[in-house]
Symmetry: D2
Subunit: 443 residues, 4 copies
């Protein structure tokens, strides 16, 4: 992938980031991520499908609830929204090609600012989509997924699809259509729903069931529209338990599965699991991944991390070796992600204000995932891990165990067997052994 | 209900607890709970169906992880397990009749200690069940629900229904059968499953999908067995996110619904929602109740409270007026609990060692629920609450809104409507107004 | 207090809020707060000293991390910063006089926007301070406390007093001086420090000890400057554990006391305790109040509430009856607040967009505190509460107990006494009794 | 260190655990911990001073709140308490010598069970102390610290030193004396206080200030007694925020420092910081270490980990590479621990029931600390870390910065400097760069 700059080079003095190996002390080089290196039957690149998140990396000035943004974004200087959108896209493709990131993800309003009217918003989006097509072609970069931002605009303060007022739901539909159109036009691999205002601030003013019915209706209409217009990719729902609402309906993986089952959406939808959202839901990242994988629904991940001590949405870049290795273990055992990739839905700390910091952040995260991938692959292929896990459940391969699994037994049968066998032998869970095994494969 | 003592009176000096009204300063009287008082179309008693939890109130000596039990239980002095079980039952019925508690709940091992063999455990249980039938008859007290303790015995340390070893699952089946038999014989209104070891300590040694398949198999077998033997009541599953395992499979209401749907158990099972478990899952109690109610699955509740600052299972008696009123509001709007009641799954603080403390604890909790009930009823019948909530969604009763709800619209339709209407008018959520309305009805 | 409007009336249609008693169903009336009603030896007004928070109520448009502000503030329409500041002040005094709020609190930048240069910022502040003096005189309203916002401006992103770069500390000093000048000129009763950026995002780049030394230095200089210029009021430090920084140095009450002791600032400083910050620190509000009170340092409170399930700074209006009553109990027992009052550092929910919502929010909170005050007073004067608490420690009034307290005993003495007395008698903590006692006094 | 067994070998089939290097796949070998390897100016052994915790490793059967213990402890079979204590000690010294653990820590009741009377408890303790002296001599193993268990016995349910009844405080004093005597006799390097019941369950029944006065009195008496009897070591206080009490007085490092300052105990006491307790207090482990280090009070650590998702005291063995490396960085920068070591206050998971699991647990934890030590040492000596941190604060080495630090400036001076300099230049905090630097040194 060659570096692709626009009229102006935004990240001057930083060339394409190269793999230099673990011994390098160049902070602007990969120490572990080597895209062409084979791990098992695929290259690192093919395993990991890294994507940049347009919003955090190119739109956000790093405001927080106690202060405005700190970060200068030289590509956001033009007064003209279309020119500003093109400059931003130039910066994005320069960054991606310098980083070797082959995918990107966006919300409609990341590409270009929403206008006063729907018609004008559509014109703007079309204009920047045209430009994106050129940039994609020149660079070979692909769209991992698109989505509509149905949570920032004040009109959605009481919900988008779940808004108590139909006129707002109609607006959400219009915006959804626009974002789906853009995704299709850009050959997006997937389309994501994150229902950031689909929830409530207080149950006292909320009829939850009615709101969920409406939300399901909107997802169904979106699916039908996209399929009718030729979209072949996956739809993803991204769970999150809270923030900005007190309670979000797509709380966690299991809750979303319950919803998709209830409204008969299991065939077209899968899950996009975010590490930080798992933390907020008091789950481990690997738990959420496993829940999705067990249902055959592990579509994609939003890679980041929350803060274990603080309870809000910190969206930091992932650098915890143990956690990422555990995640990669689940992903590899599940046979990889279904259609998705590893999207860095992560933001710089508010005081990381150098343009260079974006590079450090992505390099560190990509190296961490590369180490996790290598460790997980090594564990699965060169250790006793899989064998021990299999043996742990071996009694269900015996005759009686099989009959139980097949549903050919009654409680009376179980009682009879229990009486016959007497007290079972104690079997250690060996948790500490397994944790050590994990650690010794992190190199 | 007359006081029913056995050979010995355990709570000497304490008579039947009476309703004396809010002005009373007698700590051993009800200030708000007046069983015969009508609230709406039912008496308080009929609304609330209070039950005592056999385990906390009659079995537990209040040990905690840092020290053994502190509480003297005079009914546990006999060396003979059957006599000890009868003494305990005498104490229980004395307490219930003094408190005016018309229901009780138990695990098999609360009634009588498990023995070395299955056969002997069955004999013991039968013996105490026979005694319980007499006591029930004498007192008019009923069994709200029974359950099997499939989490305390060391054999279940890696799971009961989800144990990786089939022989342990067989033991769980034998015990389950025994508890179901006892429940049926005692005309139990319901049967509860709480999967305290159905989960994992570490995913590293766990095949979650396989374990859940087995768990569903066991629930199915239990249902079939009970139905075959004439049980007409409900089955409940009680969600809890964690403790004693790092992660429990029946995490919260939505997770259990997802499980019941996946394994086709929605027809016979409903949910038993515990306040404290909601807290541990980072949900409000009313949220969990609403999730269950919206699915038509609100069976029963375990009334207690967690500690908002501490993250473990404190199971305190419920005394928070606002929280209980919110819960009662959801319950009343849902048309009441389906088959269940309000079971005080709550324990005394380790240093509440006077026998009298049990009375204070239950009186306070019952009064709190009585106030919550009156407040909720008053809100629903004498305030603008229901009207305002209905009006909030009024646009979905209009022609276009209805067509959306009915699934007769497409994204293009929504876009057209949004373009036509322009930016919708802002509508306040009025959260603070609703919170005030709630508070002013708590008297 | 007469209603004081400026040239324009901002809250049209809302008159002075009156006390109408618990039976009123007028949402724009007090049901419990009756300023002139005597509770013990003081009126409610004298006990409670309610204050409005300028920032939340008159400056904030209710943006959150996922969307911009939703709330129209008609007083912020002028393009001229001074005129805008005067309009805002008109709105504030209209609101306060309509609500019967006798106090207000501000950060320098709430009064008027900061300018490009220090000199111009000073001129602006002086101009609006002059106007405030007129409004204060006309209305009789007083300044509870002033403070400097040393956390929002990007220059403070790495700290204000704790910034690693001296030039930034100097800027903090300049702003601090300006805010102290304004507070003195407006006869502020107190001056508050909230160190919203005094902490770190990561220890990896931080020398904590050095930063705290600098912070103490700045507080010392501020104290000296204010005293030199005639300020007779209290200085308060407001603890908070986190947000916006990962870790704030003024973590909780005990941490601030440790800091004040270490740097010899105990004489001039006291604590300003916020309910929501207690929640974030995993303490109960009453715990933080008690820690401050026990050190003779309970200066003032920021009244609000956090969300028990979510971990970020929700700053909601306080409506939990049990929690507020417990807080008032500590405050009354401590003999009241030292120099401060009850400042509603609370914001409307983002979707509470009607101007009327501000009234509902304050009415509900004031009524809740009034109920808490009456309940606490009743408990202290008309129940066994104080007597039982005293009796619990009675053995320390005996001869041996007293000698222990006075430090006239050795470990050998204790051993001798223990041997002599044998195992002590068990004494119940009676927690449930005490909780019931509290509830029965909430009317 | 030679393996030292008693009459019976408890850990048959397991020899002395050896260092075999990272490439070894022997689970019963060290991959990183090589006691004699030099890291900087000391050996690993000298840096780390690993200790075994007598309670978790030799006394606990792994009960949890939902079930009794699961673990067979062959050394606890004798009916005679003294013989049982000797067998346990044999097992402990066998384990320590096989593991190469040079230190141990105990509570009095870990060594031998408490008896009915104080006199008999003293005799028992003396007997086992005599035996311990022999074992110490034979093995070369040393006592890192001793302590008294003042939290398990029911008599302490309302507090030990903070109990509202003086007679209980006297009992605490008697037990404290006994544990100090044992520690002195065994040449204990340090003596620890962990106030597991020094706190409250509810403030409603508690006079916190009085209780803290008493607690300080008891610590003072203990210090005086120990010094009088020749104890030269450090006294440590171990902070913990909660559990078993709702609130513990020694909440976190800052709270304990505040307490020690208030009661003038800073000279003899230091802190014993536990990782898991930091987690419960919502602090990072490194934060608590840094707070202690900055006060010159970093005495010792209890090495373990909590669970980031669950809120109770899981006391797991530490295996998180990033967290341990950050801890070692603080410790190395502080010049090491003052008098203490790394005590594995960690327990096996309840289902880790093989005796071998104890070895896996300790091996994994020791290897993790060894990796953390090597990484931290490498960062400090071979990277830009220290230089960059120093440069960040360089302006305080300039003339004006120095004058600020020395307290020779006023607010007016700061204002003058700020006006002169204008808006300071923005300086990135570079958090992501620092995090990457850390990760690349974990090998």
């Amino acid at each position: 992938m060659d570096v692709l700059t626009g009229e102006r080079e935004y990240f001057k003095g930083i060339d394409k980031i190269k793999y230099e190996g673990p011994e390098s002390d160049n902070p602007l080089a990969f120490k572990y991520y080597n895209p062409e290196k084979r791990v098992g039957d695929k290259t690192m690149q093919e395993h990991l499908h890294f994507a940049v998140a347009y919003w955090h990396s190119f739109s956000s000035r790093l405001a927080d609830p106690f202060g405005p943004g700190t970060r200068e974004l030289p590509w956001l200087q033009s007064k003209d929204p279309i020119q500003r959108a093109r400059d931003k896209m130039d910066a994005a493709f320069e960054f991606m090609t310098k980083m070797g990131l082959k995918y990107f993800c966006f919300h409609d309003v990341d590409l270009v600012d929403e206008a006063e009217t729907i018609a004008e918003s559509e014109r703007r989006l079309q204009s920047i989509v045209d430009y994106a097509k050129e940039k994609k072609k020149e660079s070979g970069i692909e769209l991992l997924w698109g989505t509509a931002n149905l949570f920032s605009h004040p009109r959605y303060m009481n919900g988008a699809g779940t808004n108590p007022v139909f006129e707002v739901v109609a607006h959400a539909g219009a915006q959804l259509k626009r974002a789906i159109d853009a995704t299709i036009e850009l050959d997006g691999h997937n389309y994501v729903f994150w229902g950031g205002r689909e929830g409530y601030m207080t149950l006292l003013n909320t009829q939850m069931k009615k709101e969920k019915d409406h939300y399901a209706q909107l997802l169904t209409m979106a699916r039908d529209y996209a399929r009718k217009n030729g979209f072949k990719g996956n739809f993803f729902v991204e769970p999150k338990p809270m923030e900005p609402m007190k309670q979000l309906y797509d709380t966690d993986a299991a809750t979303v599965l319950q919803f998709l089952r209830e409204y008969d959406l299991m065939d077209d939808f899968k899950l996009n699991i975010e590490a930080n959202h798992a933390t907020l839901a008091l789950h481990s990242f690997e738990h959420e991944l496993q829940v999705a994988a067990d249902a055959g629904m592990l579509g994609s991940i939003d890679a980041n991390r929350g803060d274990e001590q603080n309870g809000w949405d910190t969206d930091q870049f992932p650098t915890k070796l143990n956690d990422v290795t555990r995640a990669m273990l689940v992903i590899l055992e599940a046979g990889g992600l279904q259609g998705g990739g590893i999207n860095f839905d992560a933001k710089l700390t508010r005081n990381s204000t150098d343009l260079e910091d974006m590079f450090h952040a992505h390099i560190g995260a990509m190296d961490t995932f590369a180490r996790g991938l290598m460790a997980a692959d090594d564990i699965l292929r060169n250790s006793s891990y899989s064998k021990l896990r299999k043996e742990r459940y071996a009694t269900f391969e015996n005759e009686e165990g099989k009959r139980f699994v097949n549903g050919s037994m009654s409680l009376e049968d179980l009682r009879r067997i229990a009486v016959k066998n007497g007290e079972p032998q104690q079997v250690s869970g060996r948790q500490e052994f397994f944790e050590n095994l994990l650690n010794t494969h992190i190199r």
